[in-house]
């Protein structure tokens, strides 16, 4: 067979191969916009709004002028004969949950006895904090009767008229001159304002604590929150945070510690929500939120740091001062509270999380040499089969602690008037610390200092549309800007490599290349020399001695 024949065959083969490869490429790269049927089903389901079965404004029992909010509660109970017991078993009422915590045993943990990184704690400040308690008259957790049904505040969650407002600093009572009749007749399934009134403003202002829960969600567009968007499916809080017997699904790990009764994406979206298998395998180790919430605090800023150590500096006139960021208008310094750092449109940090958390509980000793004190700690590692990577807001700051007893101090902050040892009136850490610790029954040595603290806030809301979610290379990259650049301790393709073997391999490549160049160069040189020799020498001079 002639060589030209083979060349023809080969060129034909190459043409066929190139065609096949091109077609295969087009096939592989072509993604038809096939509908994700699971998603369509959910959209249909949540597009329908349940109409309430009854109209409370028609009820004769509610058609009267209520003199006190407790009277409303009594009226509710007259029909909903057992609901108060459900509420009184819930954490919205008790402000704690009984949980088993490894190493600490069974504890009732909640706002009552854990600290936070903002206004530190509710103890000693209950009158103020109780405006977010679903009850009336919570001034002191020790004397408040948690078994009195009349004090259950049904309206705080079920008022649909948006007229019901609880007064700050009045132990959870509503402001005066509210038309309780109108409010009582409006009741229904909780609407966004019922939840948002407390959950958007935790820490003393909009979006201060969570970063992903704030008033902008009332008018969210799809880019801010694909679920609650006004130009989208318009879901509300209780669509995901469903409740059975007033036990509401979902909780926050600032106060919770167990991996139960969580509100999870996968309860609607399943564990394999993508059309792409490669993405679905990620769900074993990566929480949905990690990719689908690329940024949080998308509109209004959230507090990223709070340094109590600088609090207490007063102006020249002896009055408390307020310093405001001239650009954003956010408070930078308050004599009452110290220095703040704010941030918006933030990239979260990422940690392993298995659904369990530990908290600093009042009276526990701290180790000031071992990095910042963890106000709460999310548990989980890469090796933990239940742990996934989740996005978090890490709130940093410093807090007052007892340098002798090595415990964090619960200072007394709030009071109506001066001279009551409250820091927000007297600006004296000594008296505030002594009074606060006395109130909760802990010793105070008399000497204090400030210690760095950290608090972890999982980011779960403000889910972006799928086309805005993180892309592979946001994590799978050697770049230091990679989203998971800090989360080491496991092999992440694209990010990690063995510097030794990669270095060895690279050297090997260069050596091979250099060797080939050297060998080839030498061959060319010797070839040229041989040719020249042939030209110059007479053929009779070629002999055996010639090499």
């Amino acid at each position: 067979m002639k060589i030209s024949n083979h060349v023809q065959k080969l060129s034909l083969g190459i043409v066929v191969a190139v065609t096949v490869i091109t077609v295969a490429f087009l096939q592989l790269t072509f993604h038809p916009q096939e509908p994700n049927l699971g998603l369509r089903e959910l959209q249909v389901k949540y597009a329908k709004e349940d109409a309430p079965g009854v109209d409370h404004s028609q009820f004769r029992a509610l058609n009267k002028n209520f003199k006190s909010p407790q009277e409303v509660t009594e009226t509710c109970i007259s029909c909903h004969t057992d609901s108060h017991n459900e509420v009184m078993a819930s954490n919205h009422w008790n402000w704690d949950r009984v949980s088993y915590i490894e190493g600490k045993g069974i504890n009732a943990i909640g706002k009552k006895n854990v600290l936070n990184n903002f206004c530190i704690g509710t103890s000693t400040n209950l009158e103020a904090c109780a405006s977010c308690h679903t009850g009336y008259g919570l001034e002191n957790a020790n004397t408040f009767n948690f078994d009195e049904p009349r004090n259950v505040d049904c309206l705080s969650c079920h008022d649909n008229s948006e007229n019901y407002v609880k007064k700050s600093g009045d132990s959870g009572y509503p402001v005066k001159n509210i038309d309780l009749k109108k409010v009582a007749q409006s009741v229904g399934k909780p609407i966004m304002t019922n939840c948002g009134t407390c959950h958007f403003y935790g820490g003393g202002g909009n979006n201060v604590k969570h970063g992903d829960l704030e008033q902008a969600l009332y008018n969210a567009d799809r880019e801010m929150d694909v679920h609650m968007a006004k130009d989208g499916i318009q879901m509300t809080c209780v669509d995901c945070h469903t409740a059975e017997n007033h036990e509401i699904k979902g909780k926050l790990y600032s106060v919770s510690s167990q991996n139960i009764n969580r509100a999870e994406c996968q309860s609607c979206h399943t564990n394999t929500p993508h059309l792409n298998d490669m993405l679905n395998t990620h769900t074993a180790k990566v929480a949905c939120q990690t990719c689908h919430i690329p940024t949080y605090a998308k509109e209004n800023p959230t507090k990223m740091a709070w340094y109590w150590s600088t609090a207490g500096h007063l102006g020249d006139d002896g009055e408390p001062i307020t310093m405001v960021d001239s650009v954003t208008g956010a408070q930078k310094y308050l004599s009452k509270k110290g220095t703040f750092v704010w941030g918006s449109d933030l990239e979260p940090e990422y940690v392993w999380f298995n659904g369990k958390a530990q908290h600093y509980m009042l009276g526990e000793t701290i180790d000031t040499t071992d990095g910042p004190v963890q106000i709460n700690r999310l548990l989980g590692t890469h090796a933990d089969p239940n742990a996934k990577i989740i996005p978090v807001k890490i709130h940093r700051g410093d807090q007052i602690y007892d340098t002798e007893n090595m415990v964090l101090i619960q200072p007394k902050l709030y009071s109506e008037h001066r001279g009551d040892s409250a820091f927000w009136k007297d600006f004296n850490w000594e008296t505030a610390a002594a009074a606060g610790m006395k109130d909760i029954g802990l010793k105070y040595s008399g000497s204090h200092d400030f210690v760095s603290t950290e608090m972890y806030w999982p980011i779960n809301h403000m889910v972006s549309p799928s086309n805005m979610s993180l892309q592979c290379a946001d994590c799978h990259t050697q770049s230091d800007d990679g989203r998971l650049a800090e989360l080491t301790g496991f092999y992440l393709p694209g990010r990690d490599s063995s510097s030794f073997f990669d270095g060895l391999g690279t050297w090997m490549l260069w050596l091979s290349f250099a060797g080939v160049l050297f060998h080839g160069g030498l061959r060319i040189v010797s070839h040229i020399r041989t040719s020249k020799n042939l030209e110059m020498k007479d053929y009779r001079e070629f002999g055996d001695e010639e090499n």
Partner: protein, 228 residues
């Protein structure tokens, strides 16, 4: 000179398909390693996986072919002439000496080729295939799903696979260069395309002494002169 059929049709198809796949797998693989950027990470991962399946199929066919045609015997290592061949590559080739060992039907590879390709077949490719398949199906136990369990650390698998890729690339560089060491720089490539190679008449599986090589080299030069 006589023309011998050196590479059979399947052998040539296998060789070129394998080279295309290795080239493509290298491009996509090093993109997954974030060393180069061509297709985009997501596409690179998908292409790499698809190409790896194609490669596995090709390897299955190749193994079948090697055993049914007994061609595997070509790769039995021999040390008898290996010194001669190494001497040729390091010294003789610069002096324009002829190839010391000519192919015959059951020894179409010279001793250096035989041992190199054997190493390729029993070391490099198996390391790449085993680590690659482990990588392909690597998953951890998930609390919710029943999945393939792989207790081998992904880092270990990935380092083997990546280092294997470096070795393979070094092999490719040297291999492609070595094809130019034939009778003419293109004659080896031509042989792998057409299947035929021109060898010398007395091209038996000869074991020549260094002296013989010198003699042949002298003869060859004389012949060259004669043709002038």
């Amino acid at each position: 000179m006589k023309r011998i059929k050196k590479y059979q049709r399947f052998e040539r198809f296998w060789h070129w398909a394998q080279s295309a796949l290795i080239f493509f797998l290298a491009l996509t693989g090093f993109e997954v390693h974030d060393s180069i950027h061509i297709f985009g990470y997501e596409q690179a991962v998908m292409f790499h996986r698809v190409a790896s399946y194609a490669f596995l199929v090709l390897i299955a066919f190749a193994i079948f072919w090697h055993f049914t045609t007994e061609q595997w015997k070509q790769y039995i290592p021999t040390f008898s002439n290996i010194g001669t061949q190494i001497r040729y590559y390091t010294i003789g080739i610069f002096k324009g000496e002829p190839h010391p060992i000519n192919p015959d039907k059951w020894r179409k590879l010279n001793p250096v080729q035989a041992i190199t390709y054997l190493g390729f077949k029993v070391l490099i490719i198996p390391v790449m295939v085993v680590s690659g398949v482990l990588y392909l199906f690597h998953k951890r136990i998930n609390a919710n799903d029943i999945v393939v369990i792989s207790d081998i650390d992904l880092g270990t698998i990935a380092v083997w696979h990546t280092f294997g890729a470096f070795v393979l690339m070094a092999f490719v560089i040297i291999h492609v260069y070595m094809t130019t060491t034939g009778e003419r720089p293109t004659s080896n490539i031509k042989a792998m395309v057409t299947g035929y190679e021109d060898v010398e008449e007395n091209g038996e599986h000869a074991e020549r002494s260094e002296l013989e090589v010198k003699v042949i080299s002298g003869q060859q030069k004389e012949r060259k002169e004669e043709t002038k």
